[in-house]
């Protein structure tokens, strides 16, 4: 008989995880604010594991009603998985409610690992307060409503423009085939490199930069989530539309003679979309 296949493998993996920072033991207030924040974006979480950070209430004698909180979070698509920090009593209560225990403080991930995607959960232990607005900001951006925040810690948030949200670094998406009419390529949270022709009616979208080493006859939309520093590099400009961070340009009357069919780069200067020839 053949050797038995190993039925399991045990590994330590670093995954990005949402952390809900609990700043109060008043569960009514917490639930109200969560409701206010996430009712508009019902599907932001879908069975998403979330850790609870209790550091801010560790000095309190009260243990939150974990069972109630867990079921409330479930209603919003969050699976409470465990707690970080908190007093001994609070951690004991969490265990009683079926939660796991993470180490007391969150370890800075940049030191231990090189994760491909660092979302707002990549938080340093000494910057826990600052990290709350980052969580808020990241959520705002993902939900596409950069200015509608009224949660967790709005003061710090307002000081930071939305464009300073830590981008999610993902490997550059590379397309080596023609992109044909009706096709849409989206490099989510990444740069996009296209080696094939992009025909009229095709659409390239990237949250980062776009490089096209072939004629662009369709549309290219860079900085789709609002990154104003995104750029577009085009080997031969024959485009229908180009856009960076929402500023777009169409070529209704054709592309200017000095740029048509030329290698160009496109960037944003304030609210002006600048197209300039690539000098070589």
């Amino acid at each position: 008989m053949a050797r038995e296949e190993p039925a399991f493998k045990l590994k330590i993996t670093n995954l990005s995880l949402f952390v809900l920072y609990v700043n109060t033991t008043d569960m009514v207030q917490l639930k109200n604010q969560l409701d206010t924040r996430f009712n508009k974006t019902q599907d932001f979480f879908s069975n998403t594991p979330v850790a609870l950070d209790l550091s801010a209430i560790a000095n309190s004698n009260i243990s939150p009603d974990f069972a109630g909180l867990i079921s409330f979070m479930l209603d919003h698509g969050m699976h409470a998985t465990g707690v970080v920090g908190g007093s001994a009593e609070q951690r004991e209560a969490a265990v009683q409610s079926g939660l796991g225990l993470f180490p007391d403080t969150i370890v800075k991930p940049a030191v231990k690992t090189a994760p491909i995607s660092t979302t707002a959960s990549g938080i340093t232990p000494d910057a826990e307060k600052d990290s709350q607005p980052e969580l808020g900001l990241a959520i705002e951006t993902a939900a596409g409503e950069p200015n509608s925040s009224n949660i967790l810690d709005s003061d710090t948030q307002l000081q930071k423009p939305a464009s300073q949200v830590l981008p999610t670094f993902r490997p550059t998406m590379i397309i080596n085939k023609p992109v044909r009419t009706g096709q849409r390529i989206y490099a989510e949270g990444a740069n996009l490199v296209v080696l094939g022709v992009v025909n009229a009616g095709a659409e390239l979208i990237a949250d980062g930069d776009i490089h096209i080493y072939a004629p662009l006859r369709g549309r290219a939309i860079a900085g789709a989530q609002g990154n104003e520093n995104a750029r577009i590099f085009i080997h031969s400009l024959e485009a229908e539309l180009i856009s960076i961070a929402g500023c777009f340009k169409v070529f209704e009357n054709g592309i200017p003679e000095n740029l048509r069919g030329k290698p160009v780069q496109v960037h944003l200067d304030g609210s002006d979309l600048i197209i300039e020839p690539l000098l070589s």
Partner: protein
Amino acid sequence: MSKVIVVTSGKGGVGKTTTSASFSSGLALRGNKTVVIDFDVGLRNLDLIMGCERRVVYDIINVINGEVSLKQALIKDKNCDNLYILPASQTRDKDALNLEGVERILNELKESFDYIVCDSPAGIESGAFTAMYFADEALVVTNPEVSSVRDSDRILGILAAKSKRAVDGLDPVKEHLLVTRYDPKRVEAGEMLSVTDIQEILRIPLIGVIPESESVLQASNAGTPAIHLDKSDVADAYRDVVGRFMGDEGLPMRFVSVEKKGFFKRLLGGR
């Protein structure tokens, strides 16, 4: 190893059925056991072009529904010994075609035929999708005008993303560009896209150019595939296409005139 070839275009009226008829006849004339399937359920035309409309008793939908055997539905072509036609249904709609049924039929046909030519309906709806889904190779029929080229581009995108070969991660569908209704004079006058313009956009290998000709209409009305016409440039062009498809080397590309900067280039300002 038998091959499934789809004749497709996206746009209607560009010459898919004419091409299906002549291409399959050409393959059969060279001794290949060939079957041509009409996928245009509800608007069947292939049988008319092949001149067998009066012999249609059963159709592909009958076979899919298991009402008759494949043998009963196949019609032997009147001009070629090695050619059979599987007609479409005129009375059903295209939803009667389903992928499982079509796959079953194709697998059965593969046992006895070298080439299975699928004549796709126009559009990108389920009928066209079903016709292309199982293809190993594709003849993309394109007229020298922008809307036809645009539609062909769309079809090529779907072939590359949604065909069975793409879904299963096999080698991609082999694509061939066939330019039909080509009029070198009008190309020279800048009224039509040139072959070069079309290739510049679609970027797939050219398998042939079929000149615009009145004889195509006559042949259609007579129920004879154009490849059988005597002394016709269209017949010569289709024979060239079949030859190139079968791997004949050194066939010059005929019926293409001298290159000039065409309408499209001026429009978009090619490099």
